[in-house]
């Protein structure tokens, strides 16, 4: 009896629960809430999967470069080695280090990139501010001209520039074979993709509230002072973005390095060293072998030295060595850069 009562009671509560659940399913607000929660969960799961996949795709070549760089030259033809080398060695790094003349080259590249970055920032910020806020005759036309320089790539003007620069001087400065010619180009707004930087600064300054300038003007500041003490400190986000890109593109630049031939002036940079070095790798290596350099003791096998894959290995390691300072630097600047994105505030 007792048992049956209990059962009916249980059944009754179960029925009640079922009814409650049915009501829940039909309740429009709860349905909305539930569907939104499901949407969000699936969205975040999907997002995680996509991001992990893309990060894998981005990092894969880097890992590959590292894996190849750490491989001993004897391992090249070993079919068992795909990712983790059988014998880990730094011999590739030693060869690439000597090939690039790393200690000397890194200083040259660092100096070139740093100064070029500073000059680019100054020149493009000034021009961007002029286009954004200072109304003068023909400013629109000049801005379109700037955009036009973006559309015409440097490579198409190469021969004309070489002929032109080798036969004339700019204000008495010979441009070919001179390191300062890069700084001159940057200062006159024709550096590496200066047009994009000018565009970025213009959009950024357009996005800043005009009240800032007006209050400075009321306080009696001149135009230059307004720019220098009010607008420029507020443009930190744009400066960081432009500075990073200017530095990196200068570091990686090959076109201007070959156009101005700094290396002729004993000012070798990574890009020319890398491009030239891998071409003449065989002669360089043979020279070292003849000289009896110590780290060649491992490479006794002549077939390894003549294997084209070995040259690929050294070229790969040299490329990695060129990228490594940027990579290390990027991890320090990365936080600043990512923060600056929040504040770049480009407005179309």
């Amino acid at each position: 009896m007792m048992n049956k009562d209990n059962k009916t009671l249980k059944l009754g509560t179960f029925k009640q629960k079922m009814q409650k659940m049915k009501a829940d399913f039909k309740d429009p607000t709860k349905v909305k809430v539930r569907s939104r929660r499901a949407f969000m969960v699936t969205g975040s799961v999907l997002r995680t999967f996509i991001l992990i996949g893309l990060i894998f795709v981005i990092l894969l070549p880097l890992f590959q470069k590292f894996s190849f760089a750490l491989r001993h030259p004897m391992d090249i033809t070993n079919p068992q080695v795909i990712w983790i080398p059988e014998t880990i060695s730094n011999i590739n790094f030693q060869i690439a280090y000597q090939l690039l003349d790393f200690g000397h080259t890194i200083w040259n590249t660092l100096i070139l990139s740093t100064f070029s970055m500073i000059i680019q920032i100054m020149a493009t910020a000034v021009a961007g501010y002029a286009f954004a806020r200072l109304r003068f005759k023909g400013s629109n036309i000049i801005f379109y001209i700037v955009l036009f320089t973006l559309v015409v790539p440097n490579e198409t003007l190469h021969i004309a520039r070489v002929l032109y620069f080798s036969n004339s001087t700019f204000l008495g400065i010979r441009l070919i074979g001179n390191v300062f010619s890069m700084f001159i180009m940057a200062a006159f707004g024709m550096g590496i993709r200066s047009a994009i930087f000018i565009y970025l600064f213009r959009q950024f300054f357009k996005g800043l509230p005009i009240e800032l300038e007006e209050s400075a003007q009321v306080d009696g500041a001149g135009v230059f002072r307004t720019f220098w003490s009010v607008m420029l400190p507020n443009a930190r986000g744009a400066i960081v973005t432009v500075g990073l890109f200017a530095f990196v593109w200068q570091w990686n630049d090959y076109y201007f390095a070959s156009l101005f031939q700094y290396s002729a002036n004993n000012f070798a940079v990574f890009s020319t060293k890398l491009a030239g070095g891998t071409d003449q790798l065989y002669t360089v290596l043979s020279g070292w072998v003849a000289r009896g350099d110590s780290f060649f003791q491992d490479l006794t096998d002549e077939t390894v030295r003549q294997n084209t894959l070995f040259y690929g290995l050294v070229a790969n390691t040299a490329a990695l060595l060129m990228m490594l300072p940027l990579l290390i630097g990027y991890f320090f600047v990365q936080k600043l850069f990512v923060e600056s994105i929040e504040r770049t505030g480009i407005v179309g």
Binding site: F39, R47, V151, V152, P153, I159, D253, G348
Partner: protein, 365 residues
């Protein structure tokens, strides 16, 4: 003591070092400005603008300063861009002869150009074996890259803008390809082309053995063309990511400049994320489509095989100049190729600007 604080402490010491250095520098600057000649200069330069300020209105001074700010740009444009550009146009219509170097003095004698009309163009379009093919393939790639990259970078920008754990890490990773893209590195990798092929072989093996997606799609009766398109797009995923860094940056900044009250209102009204994207984010970001589109066309043309071909002619021509061998054709052909390149890229940009301008929505407050 604590291991975790090692980094923090080293950072703090670096910061302190910078702070001391900057303090020293500002002290030096101050001392330098207090010397007598600098004080005099300061007086003069402080006096002149004040004199001007009393005579000229602020508007006019603004215009004057604007012109001063842009002046280096104009000089640079004329000397470094316009003159070589005009020379290129003239060369494209002429037969250029390099007289080479004077054998006794070693000086460059000069260059003679002779007007030959459209002969260079007919040569590259009719007789050159690969130019026409490269031109069309480069430009179709650049043309179809635009929607692909715009959509991809917009999606990634939206994803990177949403809040989740480790967002700043993901952002930092996503801008890495922009940084490590380098012509020089590419060149170095080209000399090790066999190595790259071996690498690709190794990775392709792993994935191909696991699951061949293209075969699966073809088995599912999806048209072969569509499968090929999907396959090439999937193969290019690294290229697409590395092409779209700046565009992601543009869109991300655009999304962040959308007024917050619009999103708040939408949330109160109960809009889903999907609706918010299509009704708010997309229209508000659409003006940036134009900028990003133009940049995409320019950027993907810069990495096309056509530029490599132009480069080959350029280096060949320059070598002739240095060696002083008077060969005729290189300059003219290089110039006419460049000229065709520019015209076609402007046409493609114009087409995309026209197409994208239909999507654009301008919001006035």
């Amino acid at each position: 003591m604590e291991k975790t604080n090692v980094f923090k402490r080293s950072f703090a010491s670096i910061k302190a070092f910078w702070g001391r250095l900057l303090n020293k520098l500002s002290q030096w600057r101050y001392d330098f400005m207090q010397t007598k000649p600098m004080l005099f200069l300061k007086k003069v330069f402080g006096y002149l603008p004040n004199l001007l300020a009393n005579k000229i209105s602020y508007r006019k001074r603004q215009a004057l300063w604007g012109f001063v700010f842009v002046l280096p740009l104009i000089i640079g444009f004329i000397y470094f861009f316009l003159l070589p550009f005009l020379v290129t146009i003239v060369y494209s219509f002429s037969r250029v002869e390099n007289l080479g170097l004077n054998s006794s003095t070693g000086e460059h004698i000069g260059i003679v150009s002779e007007w030959i009309g459209f002969d260079n163009f007919t040569y590259i379009l009719k007789e050159h074996s690969t130019f026409r093919q490269t031109l069309t393939s480069s430009f179709t790639t650049a043309f179809f890259n635009v929607p692909l990259i715009l959509i991809f970078s917009l999606i990634i920008a939206v994803v990177l803008n949403s809040k989740f754990k480790g967002r700043s890490f993901v952002r930092a990773i996503f801008f890495m390809p922009v940084i490590f893209n380098s012509q020089a590195v590419d060149a170095a990798m080209q000399t090790g082309a066999q190595l790259a092929a071996a690498m690709e072989g190794a990775t392709a093996d792993i994935f191909a053995q696991m699951f061949n997606f293209q075969d699966f799609l073809i088995d599912a009766n999806i048209p072969v063309n569509a499968v090929n398109f999907l396959g090439t797009t999937a193969d290019q995923i690294y290229d697409i990511i590395s092409y779209s860094g700046v565009q992601i940056l543009i869109f991300l900044a655009g999304i962040q400049s959308v007024p917050k009250h619009l999103y708040e209102a939408a949330k109160i009204e109960g809009a889903t994320q999907y609706e918010i994207f299509w009704k708010i984010t997309f229209p508000m970001v659409s003006p940036l489509m134009l900028t990003a589109g133009v940049y995409t066309v320019v950027d993907s043309l810069l990495r096309s095989p056509l530029i490599n071909m132009i480069n080959v002619f350029a280096t060949a021509g320059v070598r002739k100049l240095v060696n002083g061998l008077g060969d005729v054709s290189y300059y003219g052909i290089h110039a006419s190729m460049s000229w065709l390149f520019c015209i076609s890229s402007i046409i493609i940009i114009a087409i995309w600007l026209f197409l994208l301008s239909k999507l654009v929505f301008y919001y006035d407050e």
